[in-house]
Symmetry: C2
Subunit: 237 residues, 2 copies
DNA sequence: ACGGCCCTCGCCATTTCTGGGGAGGGAATT
DNA sequence: AATTCCCTCCCCAGAAATGGCGAGGGCCGT
């Protein structure tokens, strides 16, 4: 069992293209005896990428209908750190219910476990396994393989980051301390006047920092600069 | 070996207070025979939290000097997804070198491995093991226990999130689709004019969305609203 | 020692955002 | 069936942010 996990992860680490990741999800599906395995990544300013075992019909419909907006699984993963069992989620709204019904009839399992993954620069991904199963057997399955799934999710994401043209290292130099201060205060709701007062400097000086940060980040305006800094992890709320 | 890992993780999962996490790092240190084990978390609008085996002198000095700003380990973890071996980092600057020297004489090992962890709402943490060792033996150690360390880091962070008064679920109702559109475009650098054009609505209507989102999020201004939405995972860049 | 980046300050004109009014139709929840 | 929320539109005036110019002292790495 453990030996098997090692070999699966080994395969993942040797993957050299996105096609290999596609193979990986199929292997994983067969190994764990589930119906579907899905890896889905959202990278800032990059095409979303997915390796999955769902049929193309469901995928197209999902995209066309922009189901990510109402999919409780996606919503849940955005807000949590731990893996999410689909049953724990809030399916009470009408939209969620009809979505679930459609998903199940499209071949998605009634049970599922999704593990959220976060990377630098605001990268976000989900790794999901889904199956048709009763509550008990599914619970036994997830409890038994949670650690495995976490590791697999990690390595899968690592490879996806590698193959995406995501620059391993961020582009330019970083922000200066003052620039960080300035953006942090703005991100926390201070106006320029308040921020300059807080820092004990003139409002103009503050503007210079914001402008410098804006240029470094390649941002169009202050709000954009704050957003970039946040998702690059350069500042924290 | 694997049995031992399970018991360690089991202990972690049973932890019921931060004191237990402090015990956990000591147990881990002893188990793996390293010099230090450190968990350090930065949560939005919350006191940073750490469980560590460093002596208090070094910790105080680190905080006092604000070494996080120049510590290449911290910088590196902010920008990477994979665990970072300290040797891979850039220690060329004068500040980094003197910092390293001071750290080593304070009892921090010359070798170290830090795994970055990211949670929702911009949460960030690092899990670090450090030891005095030669390159070879250290490399053997990290290669052999990487998977363990990833899992431990994950569970450690999960517990830390639990004990921090971080609300597992964000408050208030969520944003409407249009509000999400609006904030997303602003976060991506569009001005109000551009955003309204992109959405094919009047600029005033866009303003209504922004205003509504601002109120829902309890934000002071647009930039603040975008920052909150981003770090709550309501929008993505 | 030099260049480069960081910190600090000032003034002016233009664009953009903010805050306050009011109004109607539609969809969903209760 | 009623209520609540969502989407859409309009006007106006004051507040705030932006863009561009210039300038000096300090610290750090080559």
């Amino acid at each position: 069992m453990d030996r098997k996990l090692e070999s699966l992860i080994g395969r993942l680490q040797e993957a050299s293209s996105r096609a290999d990741l596609q193979d990986a999800v199929c292997l994983l599906r067969d190994h764990y005896g589930v119906d579907h395995v899905v890896y889905h990544s959202v990278n800032q300013s990059e095409e979303p990428y997915a390796a999955l075992t769902y049929g193309p019909d469901w995928v197209e419909r999902y995209i066309e209908k922009d189901y990510a907006r109402i999919d409780p699984v996606v919503q849940g993963c955005y807000q949590r750190f731990q893996p999410v069992d689909w049953k724990q989620l809030d399916w009470s709204s009408r939209a969620a219910r009809s979505f679930l019904g459609e998903a199940i009839s499209a071949g998605v399992g009634n049970q599922g476990l999704s593990v959220p993954i976060r990377g630098p620069n605001g990268q976000f991904a989900m790794f999901t396994v889904s199956a048709r199963a009763g509550d008990d057997s599914w619970h036994r399955f997830t409890a038994g393989h949670l650690g495995d799934l976490l590791l697999i999710a990690h390595y899968m994401n690592q490879k996806a980051l590698e193959f995406g043209n995501a620059p391993e290292r961020v582009p330019g130099r970083q922000l200066s301390p003052r620039e960080v201060d300035a953006l942090s205060l703005l991100a926390n709701g201070h106006s320029r006047g308040q921020a300059s007062e807080t820092l004990g400097i003139s409002e103009h000086t503050l503007r210079v920092y914001i402008e410098a940060a804006r240029l470094k980040l390649g941002a169009q305006n202050t709000t954009h600069a704050v957003a970039l800094a946040l998702s690059h992890g350069l500042i924290i709320l």
